[in-house]
Subunit: 199 residues, 3 copies
């Protein structure tokens, strides 16, 4: 139930980022909607294919499609408004990252993966959509470059994965993991935190 | 039967476009053949993985490999000829798009997807190969930029998906959908139809 | 057993190439590790998804993750040393290519694919990780450009695929195929062998 709500929120948030990226590159309305849908559902599709849950949730119901299209149309319509926000793309991206990381970890645990690999798959669920969005825009995925990005997703996923070992309702860790990931990502952007790099 | 023929035609057509793209980028013969095969089978592989039909048709038999290699070798050999054609790549691409969109929708319906998601999966089947071809050539996929492209695939797929609700043999809608998609795409190129974009 | 050792060797080797590519592009440590892991496991994941072996080996155990992280950290730490080697990236890449091509063919045969398609899937297993590495670095995959690359993987895979038809232990052909692929690739680089191209 909670995971379902998070899944829908993440779908909406990532679809907005896909639509913004598409609009920025001058794609037409349909291209914008395709990129919105692809960004929103790719992480979950990869997750579902890897755990053998086919057809993936994104194709088993029309809910995800409807949410992604709604987000895409709204973004297309209110783009000037969105541009006025400070770092709008990053905020939506962080929301999608956080919700998908914990939802993905949850589902991977439910399908029997051990907790370390469930956390990795949660991270993949979180970063997958944004990576596709960037590759389709012919850019190096920001996940590989950005300050605290995949590491935030992993942190949130680990909270859920490790929490599942404790006798506490998983919903608690789902919320905590999402808040941790979202916070880490935004504070990381704000403070320009960087991991050590070779340059 | 009809779907099988369409599937082979689409495989050949997309393989030609992959081979042309590879040759244009100066790939060697083997690279050209790899790109021809990848362009030809990626859409169908994605479709089959998502509906749980593994191993995908492209790996379950050698037919698709043989058709793609044949198309690749012929393209490599007769490239100067192909260059003489007007928009040859787009015509072959439109043929692959049209046939794969309707075949993909058919197969998704057969595997129990609802008609709206079957149409989306048909569209994905149609545009998947070309997207991979463009990403591997380090270009923004033309599907996201081009005039009427994915929307043509969706139109053809919707004809099949909606037609399946009627008490009429599906073969009729398969042909009608393919013709509609192929026609929309070519007329769209010719008339420079564009969807609204943000630029 | 032998296949398992080869699989681990290939995982380590490809992870090193992913880490090198990431460091060269100035990714941070985490990005480097993500690219190391992705390069190391993508070929095997594609193979496992296509034959229906889910969750893929890379997610069913933590071994591959541990090996990839170890390789990534070592590369990050000793990068100046690695830069002193002659063509270090290509040597590691050739090792991953050779081991994954034969291991992939083995596994595809075990899951019932015919020998021609098992060889193709072995080739895909070998080249998949490097292709993702290059796409994520926003480059045309070297597989499509390079001299003898995918063709070396196919040669090694064919040795295993055809050898499986003979009454000889498959281990023999696994070693022979890997040696052939590794040798072909390195001699090809050294002698600047090229396949015919259109330029």
């Amino acid at each position: 139930m909670l995971a379902q709500v998070f899944d829908y929120v993440g779908t909406f948030a990532f679809a907005v980022t896909g639509a913004m990226a598409g609009a920025r590159h001058g794609f037409d309305l349909f291209g914008v909607l395709v990129l919105a849908f692809a960004t929103a559902v790719t992480g979950g599709i990869v997750r579902d294919v890897l755990i053998g849950a086919v057809p993936p949730a994104a194709f088993a119901t029309w809910h995800y499609l409807a949410i992604a299209l709604l987000a895409g149309v709204l973004t297309f319509r209110f783009l000037p408004l969105a541009k006025g926000l400070h770092h709008p793309l990053q905020v939506f991206d962080a929301a999608g990252l956080a919700t998908f990381a914990v939802v993905g970890t949850n589902k991977a645990l439910m399908y029997g993966l051990d907790w370390p690999m469930a956390a990795i798959l949660g991270m993949v669920t979180g970063i997958g959509g944004g990576m596709l969005r960037d590759v389709l825009s012919a850019q190096v995925p920001s996940v590989l470059r950005a300050e605290i990005y995949a590491v935030a997703a992993l942190a949130g996923a680990l909270v859920v994965a490790l929490g599942s070992l404790l006798p506490v309702p998983i919903g608690f860790f789902t919320v905590a993991g999402a808040v941790l990931c979202f916070g880490l990502r935004l504070v990381g952007i704000n403070r320009r935190w960087k991991l050590p790099s070779t340059r």
